[in-house]
């Protein structure tokens, strides 16, 4: 009997931890469904919910006060979501797809520092919910009463959302807009308010999720990224835009965690991703989702402009840039050279991501998996096999390529935002492996003392080495882009059906393109290790993936020069601002400002101004 009680309690614990996941994931799903914006800041809204509830609980007190505080925190976060939508996102809905991501990333940075400023760096311990401090005895095993409250809360929210979407006019409009928002507009519905409304609802749910888990988990500054990967998994497994799907997936993932920890305590995360992989192989659109056909939403942008080989003036400008880089050590100090090396490495990283997401049409939210994968491959080879730098630098792209082949096999079965979220989830698996497998990877302490070979150990030699390798990598990407392989890849992006009908194996084409992109990200990672002399799990983390995404989008995803412009701007900005105390706030605010000022990206903006001179024809009116 005792055993039964134990398993029952374990199951209920799983259900209660599903509640936060469900609330946050359903909010993300609702917002994406209508606005097509993947709100990276959703984890931040969750974190804010916890912090704001903490403050309200302190002020109000009592059982009634506690629940009032939770609700108020939800509403407050909903209002913050509305502010973000009105002030920032509304200005960039017309921008190229995904550009809004950059803005939401800026919001993450701003919120991180505002939370730090307001609530301090210390983790806050959540107050117990008055009246629910005790435990209940279930067949001899104890379960906190608050866990039951959380289960009740998620059921209430599920019921309320179902009623809202199926019994009210607003809900009907939201469901219609999720299918075809342009048509909803042509039928007289003001989309702006629909967008703002869904942002309120979605953000409120995230805030509510954060507030409700306060007694269990407290509030800390890492909550935002910590929940993001799990939320993406829930959304992908459940099916984008499906509330019951989000619930089902949240329960599935949480139960898996609750029971998986009994079997293999170390690798619950890996287990979660195995389940996700299995679900996606059999149901690529998630358990309860529907396939997302391009054009279904009446908002396919103008066709991608064809890529042309660079004209003579652009080539001349490129050669001039190379000449300047060659001559740079003659008149630059050491700091500038170090910065230049970092910019070059990041430019290669960004260019590899651009290859996949621009011409390849496969957006990766988790490209750091390959950057970090290459970095760790090189570092581990040096540490355990005592290999020289030259071999490690070849090993890095090779292993990253293998990793990309492995992840890519799953990813290319999906398209669009599903693919993107899956890459993020995979990257998070990689991150948790290097983070948790301390005996081999050094865990949080990283791997230190990975220095270049003797001949490349002085600053000048390493400068030339990294310039050569980065420029070589970028040119290789360019070369492939204009090779038959590149043409076939772009054909697959533009029309799967037509490509398949002229004999291109679309999946294999995309798979290899993904792997090639991953391999070059790995080369960047390998260079990075030797430039720093060390590697940490950070190189595989979500923020590192976002760095690359920001560089590409900030530069302009439709132009080949975009990632370079983005890498220069972003790396330089980070370097300039990184010394400030609240650098995240400043950087975030700057990113938001750039997004609002240049909705075409930096390179897109430059191309519109200078393009004609360089012989670049403007394709879009």
């Amino acid at each position: 009997m005792n055993d039964l009680g134990f398993y029952l309690v374990q199951a209920l614990t799983g259900l209660s931890s599903a509640s936060a996941l469900f609330l946050v994931a359903s909010g993300l799903s609702i917002i994406f469904g209508v606005t097509r914006v993947v709100n990276f800041a959703h984890g931040s809204f969750y974190m804010l919910g916890a912090y704001i509830a903490y403050t309200f609980v302190e002020r109000l007190g009592g059982a009634l006060g506690f629940w009032a505080a939770v609700l108020l925190a939800g509403v407050a976060v909903g209002a913050i979501g509305v502010v973000v939508e009105l002030l920032i996102l509304r200005r960039v809905y017309q921008a190229p797809e995904l550009f809004q991501l950059v803005a939401t990333f800026g919001v993450i940075l701003v919120i991180q520092d505002l939370a730090l400023l307001t609530w301090g760096a210390e983790d806050l311990f959540g107050p117990a919910a008055p009246g629910l401090e005790g435990t209940v005895n279930i067949l001899g095993t104890r379960l906190p009463e608050y866990d039951l409250a959380l289960i009740a809360l998620s059921l209430v929210v599920l019921g309320a959302l179902t009623l809202l979407f199926h019994r009210t006019r607003w809900g009907t409009l939201v469901r219609a807009a999720t299918e075809d928002r342009e048509m909803v507009g042509a039928l007289g519905v003001n989309q702006s308010w629909l967008f703002t409304g869904t942002f309120f609802l979605g953000s409120m749910l995230a805030g509510l999720g954060g507030a409700a888990q306060l007694p269990k988990g407290g509030a800390d500054l890492l909550m935002d990224f910590n929940i993001l990967a799990a939320v993406f998994v829930v959304v992908v497994v459940g099916g984008m835009g499906s509330i019951p799907g989000a619930f089902l997936a949240a329960v599935l993932i949480s139960e898996l965690g609750a029971f998986g920890i009994l079997v293999i305590p170390q690798s619950t995360l890996v287990l979660m991703f195995v389940v996700m992989a299995v679900v996606l192989i059999f149901r690529p659109w998630g358990l309860l989702g529907r396939p997302e056909a391009p054009g279904q939403h009446g908002q396919v942008g103008p066709p991608e402009p064809p890529l042309r080989p660079p004209g003579p003036r652009l080539r001349a400008a490129g050669l001039l840039l190379l000449a300047v880089l060659l001559a740079l050590p003659a008149f630059a100090d050491d700091f500038t050279l170090v910065l230049a090396v970092e910019i070059a490495i990041m430019a290669l990283f960004a260019a590899s991501l651009h290859f996949a997401m621009g011409p390849g049409g496969m957006v990766s939210f988790g490209h750091a998996a390959f950057f970090g994968g290459g970095a760790y491959a090189a570092a581990l080879l040096v540490k355990y096999a005592g290999s020289p730098m030259e071999v490690a630098l070849l090993f890095a792209p090779a292993m990253a390529g293998v990793l990309a082949l492995l992840f890519g096999w799953f990813c290319v079965r999906l398209t669009g935002v599903y693919l993107a979220m899956l890459t993020l989830a995979f990257a998070q698996v990689g991150w948790s492996i290097v983070f948790q497998w301390g005996e081999v990877t050094g865990g949080d302490d990283g791997i230190l003392g990975i220095w270049p070979s003797e001949w490349a150990s002085n600053r000048l030699a390493f400068y030339y080495l990294s310039m050569l390798a980065s420029a070589g990598g970028i040119l290789a990407l360019q070369y492939v882009l204009h090779s038959p392989f590149g043409y076939a890849m772009r054909a697959c992006r533009d029309s799967v059906v037509r490509s398949a009908s002229i004999g291109i194996d679309v999946r294999r084409q995309q798979w290899f393109a993904f792997a090639f992109s991953g391999a070059l990200a790995g080369l960047a990672g390998g260079l990075f290790v030797f430039s720093k002399g060390s590697v940490f799990p950070d190189e595989m983390s979500i923020p590192r993936s976002f760095d690359a995404l920001i560089m590409v989008l900030l530069g302009g995803v439709k132009t080949v020069l975009g990632p370079l412009a983005g890498a220069v701007t972003f790396t330089w900005l980070q370097d300039e601002i990184g010394r400030l105390e609240y650098w995240r706030f400043v950087l975030g605010a700057l990113i938001i400002a750039i997004v609002v000022a240049f909705p075409q990206g930096i390179a897109g903006f430059l191309r519109a101004r200078l393009g004609p001179w360089f012989g670049v024809r403007e394709m879009e009116a």
Partner: protein, 234 residues
């Protein structure tokens, strides 16, 4: 309701789709915009409702300029738009689709209710709870018109209403358009099917390569076989 389109120009990217398109329609009148595939019929209707933003020219409703406004504003001024591809909300029920189209009654017109629409479209009656995605093409075509009527428009833009329909459904469509005309609505319909247009329209504009080539009454068009052969027959 009086719609006046003057000198409309529209582009898709760099492609010049409409060049100097002008047309008019008034209450109780059915106007046909006739032309072959790719002549610019759909773009004309989309430019009027605001789904394509015209690069030049004016669209006026009862003397008020509306071009440049977002589609939902133009719709609320009394213009209804029925897209060629139907674009029903597949996961919503018939009732849900009608609800999305619902707008306040318009003075001077009898407001549409689901019950009244089911009289006009007997095929849809009793299907209120069916998911739109599971209906036949003809039923979806009826639903998309019914959905637009729920907005109580004074003028309806119908993009190729007879396209891809079985002959018996096409006959029903003729009846529907005639009864909407009797209600006092203005109707602008785009068509390739001249026989269909001749059954319902009062006047016709002939469009080719984005330009209006000819304007005449439907009787004149019926009499002028040379004209039909030049611009319309395939």
């Amino acid at each position: 309701m009086r719609l006046e389109v003057r000198g409309l120009h529209s582009y898709y990217g760099r492609a010049h789709i409409l060049a100097d398109v002008s047309l008019e329609a008034t209450a109780g009148e059915v106007v046909a915009l006739l032309g072959r595939n790719g002549a610019g019929k759909s773009t004309t209707l989309k430019s009027i409702i605001g789904l394509v933003r015209p690069a030049g020219g004016t669209v006026e409703v009862d003397g008020t300029p509306i071009s440049g406004e977002p589609p939902h504003r133009i719709c609320r001024r009394g213009l209804g738009y029925v897209p060629e591809e139907r674009r029903v909300f597949a996961s919503l029920t018939v009732g849900g689709n009608l609800e999305v189209g619902r707008q306040p009654p318009r003075p001077g017109l009898t407001p549409w209710t689901p019950a009244r629409l089911f009289e006009l479209f007997p095929n849809l009656a009793g299907m209120g709870g069916r998911a739109a995605g599971q209906m036949s093409g003809g039923e979806q075509q009826m639903l998309t018109i019914a959905r637009t009527l729920m907005g109580n428009p004074a003028l309806v833009l119908l993009d190729e209403p007879s396209e891809g329909l079985a002959p018996v459904i096409v006959d029903q469509m003729v009846q529907v358009i005639r009864s909407l005309k009797r209600e006092g609505l203005a109707i602008v319909l785009s068509e390739q099917n001249v026989n269909f247009a001749m059954k319902v329209a009062d006047r016709a504009y002939i469009i080719e390569k984005g330009r209006i080539r000819h304007e005449c009454t439907i009787d004149a068009l019926m009499a002028d076989e040379a004209m039909r052969r030049t611009y319309l027959t395939v």
